[in-house]
Amino acid sequence: MLKYIVKRLLIGMLTLFILATITFFGVRAMPGEPFTQDNKVMSAETYAALEKKYGLDKPVGEQYVIYLKNALHGDFGESISKKGQQVSDIIIQRAPVTAKLGVVAFFIAIFVGLALGIVSALSKSRFVNGLITTLATLGVSIPGFLFAMITMIFFAVKLGWLPIVGLDSWKHYILPSIAMALSSISMITRLSRSSLKDVMDKDYITLARSKGTKEIWVIIKHGLKNALLPVITYCGPMFAGLITGSMVIETLFTIPGIGKEFTNSITNRDYTLVMGLTLFFGAIVIVMNLISDIVAALVDPRIKIGK
């Protein structure tokens, strides 16, 4: 088990290192200068001073080493478009907003997805099954941002029940978190439905029933426990989906989170911020993947032997 974790950890660190390298050289290869915004004429001295300030006067190789060293300490440099603000400060300031929304979306996805999956796996009714399958298909096919826009029109503009800007009260969470969770709900419904269906046909379920166990315990203790594995492994990719989702949902609902910051930094060509946020997102997704894989391996020892 320890060997497995160490191996995964090393691969994760390698991935992060490669991402950092790609980001660094990618940003260097981008057209346009970071300091020539607003078409202002800049004297040669100011330009040189600015280059010196951001370390751009050194050779690329040296810049790269310095960048990696600093990034290792969590120092991503100073934002270019927001003068005087450290990238790491921006992350610390904005990340909690996204995290709150993300956690709400995460739990909505897990609970609603599992509930729908369980109901459709156990229900014999063709109507219920058809309805849930249709919902799951729609959920996968309708992009979250369009769903968000449609629900905005209905519940906020037409009916006026829910607010659409910001993230102040619990009411503000409803629309964005559901839109963010939409595709994950559908995926979890599909995953848990098919795995629970498989499990419920197994011999040990029949055995548990024949021993007189109450049906509800058969489902929870013997069925669900064994059917959860695909859902656990899905949690890693789900975080990736939530993070990319936050970019558009936060822009749409004007939520001052890290996803909105990322899209803004791209529009502003704020290279240091783009680099810092890319690394931050990458690191989070890698860590979440790692956690979900480790949990899956803990739950089901067959996994690490299989790999």
């Binding site: 790609i22 096919s141 826009m149 905005m152 993070i243 822009t251 060509r269 997102f281």
Partner: protein, 305 residues
Amino acid sequence: MSQIQLNDEMFDKLDDSEKNSEFIAVESKTFFKDAWGRFKKNKLALFGLIFLAIMVLGAIFVPMLSPYTYEGQDLASKNLLPCLAHPFGTDKLGRDIMVRVMYGARISLSIGFSTAVINLFIGIVYGGISGYLGGKVDMIMMRIIDVIYAVPSLLYTVLILMIFGDSITSMMLAICLTSWIQMARQVRTQVMSLKEMEFALAAKVLGASDMRILMKHLIVNALGPIVVCLTMMVPSAIFTESFLSFVGIGLNPSIPSWGKLANDCRALIFVNQIQIIWPVAAICLTILSLNFIGDGIGEALEIKR
């Protein structure tokens, strides 16, 4: 040893019903005819195919035949509701929405289909080599995939778009660079299991080259899952493009892709909701149709995914 008693009753004439029992009533079907027959029975898949066909025809012909262009403004007739002259209505600058949506279909569909085709080639080459050679080569190639896959593909896509600008070509490139992985994995799994089959061994014994075995025998037999994977790639490319253009970090704003059209509508949610329907419906129904078609093909070819 007892002898069998033969008598006349045992030599009765066959009646007609028994004579015809071996008769083949239906013309024998090829594999693809059979699959098409099953595909046709799937109503959703058929609906998807029809909708997609309409969309493709509309994308080709509507901008050609319509009297309006996608950027032609007519301030005298702005924000019109759907009417005879403008079936989808007009937007705030008096541009015909139908032409704009169909022009967007050109962009979104061509991005979707061309990235899928490019991915097909990269995937077959990469996955084929990795699966066929196996061993160390396979391990290294798979580790490379793991490393790329570990990070949300959107991050790479955004980086590439920033480096190469916001043209349609760089959007295709950006989507391709990350989405070929799925195809490569699919091809690899198929090749790995197929190369153990006897027909692969037979080809090898007959002296076929590795290249020939891979392309003529293994890939051809893996076509079913590959086609399903291919159909599923088109909607995800369309999704990525519309997602990025919707947030305003995708294609150049002058290009009326579906994402951009939906983005235009964002400002209108308080004023003019009817205009929002068209791009939203176009994106959702196209992605839905393609998913149905993919599922239908998978079912018709009896592929378990």
